[in-house]
């Protein structure tokens, strides 16, 4: 039985509902040794800022039970180098590109989005309003994240919305009392989809040296450990919004991905599972197709939100 895997994520057509999470797949080319990355529904690139960034001082990562903490601090090559050196590979491979962006203040996001659109550097924009590892004053209200303040989310979303006709996805933080609030704010302000979740804020201490294991003291927790939290938030948000959800957080297998679709995600992103298995996202695509076949599902869209209560 042929299975339709194609989905529409807020105006972005993906040939299957699987992409990768920003910051866990570089710019695609790094994993080209292992498989043809254009087989994915889309490739989401590492957060891009206007200028190159060197990120935080190491150590930046530490393993935790069924997961890891990171405080990279958005080290990236910057927009111009991306367009010059990274984009050609993705375009040549005919990848669908979700460009994740990060800036200080709404204007920076707006410039990034419009420059990406002008240069054909993206098929959709994902605005990272939820990175726990950067300390730019403009983004913070008392050290907190934009995504923790629905009113701020609205402001940022609006600025990006006005700057581009590309589909705009707003990436949200799980470090909130009720994730529906910022999600609704993004929707009202014109977002085409919401991406969730970014990492949970966490910490680990080396009991021998008594120092935090990450120089930034705290970092973002990702991996299978957080999957139940992510799934719950996807379920909450997808019931409350009419725009689609790109679900992520601890997805490592097709079974995990199917759970997210059932909970209401229109598409899913594979994050740090790629570190362990670079072709994890491809296996998820194949596994979702198998699942559909075995369960007599002819269109993957039928799975979206189909959890039985």
């Amino acid at each position: 039985m042929p299975v339709n895997l194609q989905i529409d994520l807020g105006g972005l057509t993906m040939k299957n509902p699987v992409t990768v999470a920003s910051g866990t797949f570089g710019y695609g080319a790094e994993y080209a040794d292992y498989f043809d990355v254009s087989q994915l529904g889309a490739v989401t690139v590492k957060s891009l800022s206007l200028e190159p960034r060197s990120g935080n001082v190491p150590p930046r990562i530490v393993e935790t039970p069924s997961g890891m903490l990171n405080a990279i601090g958005l080290q990236n090559v910057g927009m111009e180098t991306y367009l010059r050196e990274k984009l050609p590979f993705l375009r040549e491979k005919k990848c669908v590109i979700i460009a994740n962006i990060y800036g200080s203040g709404p204007e920076a996001y707006a410039s990034l989005a419009s420059r990406l659109e002008a240069e054909g550097g993206a098929d959709a924009i994902e605005a990272n309003l939820s990175c726990p590892n950067v300390h730019d004053a403009q983004n913070a209200r008392g050290g907190s994240l934009v995504a923790q303040h629905p009113d701020q989310v609205a402001l940022y979303t609006q600025a990006i919305r006005e700057a581009t006709k590309l589909p705009v996805f707003i990436k949200l933080s799980p470090n909130v009392t009720d994730i529906v609030e910022p999600a609704l704010a993004a929707q009202e302000a014109g977002a085409d989809a919401v991406s969730l979740i970014n990492t949970l804020i966490g910490m680990a201490i080396d009991s021998e040296t008594r120092k935090p294991r990450i120089s930034n003291i705290v970092g973002g927790l990702s991996g299978p450990a957080i999957r139940p939290v992510a799934l719950k938030m996807v379920w909450d948000v997808s019931r409350a919004l009419h725009i689609p959800v790109l679900g992520m957080g601890g997805i490592a297998t097709a079974d995990d991905a199917v759970q997210f679709l059932l909970a209401g995600a229109r598409a899913v992103a594979i994050g740090c599972a790629s570190f362990r298995n670079p072709d994890a996202a491809l296996k998820v695509v194949q596994g979702i197709e198998n699942y559909c076949q075995q369960h007599g599902i002819s269109d993957v869209n039928e799975l979206v939100g189909a959890v039985k209560l």
């Binding site: 040794d33 292992y34 190159p52 060197s54 990562i61 991996g223 450990a225 740090c272 570190f275």
Partner: protein, 264 residues
């Protein structure tokens, strides 16, 4: 080209207390591997430990590789319990390589403890190139942790031993032993070991106008340059390049580019 394969464990033995050598049937990795590169090893299935473990390739054979490692934490202790004959999932070869110059007059390898691992293959390769066998300084806390002396001697390397406690060879640090060998501007030094040791080795080299390549370690998640987790600070001007990935720009670095005092 890096690949991921299930490798049969051909041999797996203790070589010193808590130190083991594992020989893997891994023709695909061996075909591409060159001295200085490393692998990412999945110590077991399941989500914990979550990350692979980076391990230098010790020697490269026709149909496989060997790894020399220290069982120190959770992951390496699990590795130590995998029996010969079992399979283990290995990703590699990864990272850059030791630069070898065929006109090198004199090379000295300075190893601290398990840091000898990547230098064994390097010694072999230098000799295979027809260059003079490198001199080797093997440094460790104490005698029983001096690894591979026999192998190196058999290759024709002049081996200097150095122990912190004086239980064998020179009593003192690797850098002091290096100074005694009097390297000059035509000497090439390759080093791998604890950061403090490599830093001292580099200081000796800098003073003697000797080029020095250091193989660094860092906690790694991907090993493939995508996570930006494994960086070390460099002296680069370019903002992005201020932090270099050990897995991509390294693990082998020209010691001059490293900001050694960042390790304080």
């Amino acid at each position: 080209m890096a690949c991921i394969t299930n490798c049969k464990i051909v041999a797996h033995q203790e070589v010193a207390p808590d130190h083991r050598r594992i020989v893997l049937d891994a023709p695909d990795i061996a075909a591409d591997a060159r001295p200085g590169q490393f692998c990412m090893i999945e110590v077991r299935e399941g989500s914990s430990p979550f990350l692979r473990r980076p391990m230098s390739i010790e020697r490269i054979f026709d149909d496989g590789i060997s790894i020399l490692y220290k069982a120190m934490g959770e992951g390496t202790r699990m590795m130590a319990s995998i029996p010969t004959g079992a399979y283990i999932n290995v990703q590699g070869p990864l990272g850059n390589i030791f630069p070898i110059e065929s006109d090198t007059v004199r090379s000295i390898l300075v190893a601290g403890g398990i840091g000898i691992a990547p230098l064994i293959g390097l010694a072999e390769a230098i000799i295979a190139r027809g260059a003079r066998a490198p001199e080797v300084i093997l440094a460790a806390r104490t005698e029983c942790l001096l690894l591979c002396e026999k192998e190196l001697s058999q290759m024709g390397c002049a081996v200097t031993l150095a122990t912190d406690d004086g239980s064998a060879g020179f009593k003192g640090f690797a850098a002091d032993a290096l100074r005694l060998l009097d390297p000059d501007s035509k000497t090439l030094v390759y080093t791998c070991g604890p950061n403090v040791m490599m830093r001292a080795v580099y200081d000796v080299c800098a003073a003697a106008d000797t080029r020095c390549y250091a193989s660094l370690e860092a906690v790694m998640a991907c090993g493939d340059g995508v996570c930006m987790g494994c960086v070390v600070e460099t002296n680069a001007e370019n903002e992005f390049a201020k932090m270099a990935r050990v897995c991509r720009e390294g693990p082998v670095f020209d010691a001059r580019v490293i900001r050694w005092n960042a390790f304080d």
